[in-house]
């Protein structure tokens, strides 16, 4: 056991300071996408919805409805529309209500961009 004890001393502390301080390892984690409304059209939204294997994306009128809870950060939407979606980098996603996880992203590009900005954008 002394062997282990000494090893432990030599090893030092590895424990994260989170939540007091941010943790560096979080940078490499897969995170849900963030979208650029300016780049989203209805057609693109439909393609994204089709590409999403976990049904996290769906188009509702002129808004892309994004269920963060269902998202597995698999990155297929990023591959599908490199311009319109990027990784959000957010990993602190715990929600107290499922509704908090459902986001509406307005489709500002292409047909009928102006109108839905208000109607689709308001949560």
């Amino acid at each position: 056991m002394t062997l282990w004890f000494l090893r432990g001393l030599r090893r030092g502390v590895v424990t994260t300071r989170y939540p007091a301080r941010p943790d560096a390892s979080a940078a490499a984690l897969p995170t849900p996408p963030a979208f650029r409304p300016e780049a989203l059209t209805r057609a693109l939204a439909d393609r994204l919805a089709a590409a999403c294997p976990s049904r996290a994306l769906a188009r509702d009128g002129d808004a892309l409805v994004f269920d963060v809870g269902a998202c597995t950060a698999c990155g297929r939407c990023l591959a599908e529309a490199p311009g319109a979606a990027t990784s959000s980098g957010e990993f602190e996603l715990a929600a107290t209500l499922p509704a908090h996880l459902v986001k509406r992203i307005p489709l500002l590009a292409g047909g009928g961009a102006a109108a839905p900005a208000t109607e689709g954008g308001s949560p």
Binding site: W4, R7, G8, S25, A28, P30, R55, G75, A79
Partner: protein
């Protein structure tokens, strides 16, 4: 891949030809149509063939996929997958089964028993001889309350399962120690019926149906790429192995050949998966022996390896690396070269200290012994089999790219106890690190072979695929089918895929290594152990329930 249609009589010739193909490394997969009448004879021949093992048994057809109106039921096609390790090839026998019975395979090749039970539950046909079967996937309430019966791949059994399933009755001076399904913190749900005389373990049986999610049923009607998402999440700790096997099967069916760098990228991921699994197994061994400091050391190594995964492939458990026809993500070679040695060093230091701790080794030695005979008979694979002196490793026996180029040295032991399994895991980890180095030197990166015809369905709205699930196709003698395999960290993972002409899956068979190795577990537990040894044995097998009840 060569597909041959021939009777059982032609087998000897085929086998010899197989040997020749193997010489020029053609990865031969031979498909032989064997009429049900001569199936028994064929099984005898193959079981007697040197270096042949029954790798998997599964059925297809027998009604519309996803089990809707059973009126359209066709004949069930029974497929036996033989790993001809000596000849470096696979052989599939296809037999159409009319009626409810087929020759009892497990009397000739005991390894077939678990699959016989599966086939009974899913396709309603049972082996002759009338020996009792066990419940493996479908929950008891599925049998008792017809309303709750989940859909089956084929038709429902005709005989009531009550008459078919063996009763777990404990008599005499022993009792059943119930353990689970809700067990310790952070372990999977699993029920042990632990029959003990108060001290030693008399017998042990497992109920894994608590986690059966009908994955194979879900895959039907999807395109391989959609299905891949589900396959990765069937056994998270074996994601790469299973996904690779599935991808190879789909590629065989679609006639794709992944580009070399992508194949190497997959291999890097697979070896990383092996590394972190063996680290996790080490941590679990320490936990089960109550060596908390050792557990902490192993967990430091494990966490660092997972971070290496995340840095190199973007996912701690390497989801989304394998893609049909290639690799979706490639390793960041620089990161791997920089971080992997350190992380692996942690594991080595932990292992060295463990191998110098007698209180630890004493618990491992002569615990959970699994004889070579048992490992062979039950068709076990991976580190478990290798620790019992059955040195099968598909990376060597059935080398596909990129392993054909750089074959790994197979670590093996003969003791068959927990310590032997532990040592084998450590040796494999070292080998994996070496392989990763070579693979990176050879150059590994993402890439994808585009199909000859455009692969359909890839960009269809989900709704339609829901409708299309199952489709009209019969998964009998499938037009386009393929077999895939990979040496996952737990051993040989197999997959078989049949596609209809729209490129959707009519029948997908997943056989993670866990399915095989759980069968050795009770055998190992029964050999002279008291029941405090069971957690140690379980840790040394390092299997997942998710993999076996999928």
């Amino acid at each position: 891949m060569t597909a041959v249609r021939a009777g059982a009589a032609a087998l000897p010739g085929l086998l010899s030809q197989l040997g020749r193909d193997a010489a020029d490394d053609a990865r031969p997969v031979i498909t032989v149509a064997v009429p049900a009448a001569s199936l028994e004879d064929a099984v005898r021949r193959l079981a007697a063939h040197p270096g042949a093992r029954l790798a998997d048994v599964f059925a297809a057809g027998g009604g519309p996929a996803a089990g809707r109106d059973a009126a359209a039921a066709g004949p069930v096609v029974l497929r036996l997958v033989w790993g001809l390790d000596a000849d470096r090839g696979y052989l599939i026998t296809e037999s159409e089964i009319e009626g409810e019975r087929y020759p009892a395979l497990s009397d000739i090749a005991p390894a077939a028993f678990y699959e016989e039970c599966e086939i009974y539950e899913q396709f309603g046909i049972r082996p002759g001889g009338g020996k009792p079967l066990n419940r493996v996937a479908l929950p008891p309430q599925a049998a008792t309350t017809p309303g709750q019966a989940p859909p089956r791949l084929g038709r429902a059994p005709v005989e009531p399962p009550g008459d078919v399933h063996a009763l777990h009755h404990v008599g005499g001076h022993a009792f059943e120690f119930p353990f689970g399904p809700v067990r310790q913190v952070g372990v999977e749900s699993l029920y042990y019926g632990l029959v003990t005389s108060g001290e030693e373990v008399v017998d042990l049986y497992l109920f894994t149906w608590h986690k059966h999610r009908g994955v194979e049923w879900r895959l039907q009607g999807r395109t391989p790429r959609e299905a891949l998402f589900q396959v990765e999440r069937t056994e998270g700790l074996g994601a790469v192995g299973n996904a690779w096997a599935f991808a190879v099967a789909a590629e065989a069916a679609l006639g794709l050949e992944p580009p070399a760098p992508a194949a190497r990228a997959r291999a890097v991921a697979l070896e990383l998966e092996r590394l972190y699994n063996h680290a996790a197994a080490t941590a679990a061994l320490c936990q089960s022996t109550g060596l908390v400091i050792g557990q902490a050391a192993a967990e430091i190594a494990l966490e660092r390896l997972l971070r290496v995964n995340a840095a190199a492939f973007g996912h701690r458990y390497l989801f989304g690396v394998v893609d049909i026809g290639g690799a979706a993500a490639g390793p960041d070679a620089a990161v791997l070269r920089r971080d992997l040695p350190g992380a692996y060093g942690e594991l080595c230091r932990a292992a060295d200290a463990l191998l110098a701790t007698n209180s630890f080794l004493d618990r491992l030695e002569a615990t959970g012994i699994l004889t070579q005979e048992a490992a062979r008979r039950l068709g076990l694979v991976g580190p478990v089999a290798r620790a019992s002196g059955v040195a099968t490793d598909t990376r060597v026996d059935h080398p596909g790219p990129p392993y054909a180029g750089l074959p790994p040295a197979v670590a093996a032991a003969t003791a068959g106890d927990v310590l032997a399994r532990f040592r084998v895991m450590l040796a494999e980890s070292a080998e994996s690190v070496r392989l990763i180095g070579d693979l990176l030197d050879a150059g590994a990166g993402p890439g994808r072979a585009e199909p000859v015809g455009t692969e359909p369905g890839g960009s269809q709205p989900r709704g339609e695929t829901r409708e299309a699930r199952g489709g009209p196709a019969r998964a009998g003698m499938a037009a386009r089918s393929g077999l895939g395999w990979a040496e996952s960290s737990r051993g040989e993972a197999l997959a078989w895929v049949a596609l209809d002409d729209t490129g959707r899956i009519t029948r997908a068979r997943l056989r993670p290594a866990s399915v095989r190795n759980w069968r050795g577990f009770d055998d190992a537990c029964r050999s002279q152990n008291v029941f405090t040894d069971i957690p140690i044995i379980e840790a040394s097998f390092w299997l997942t329930v998710a993999g076996t009840s999928r």
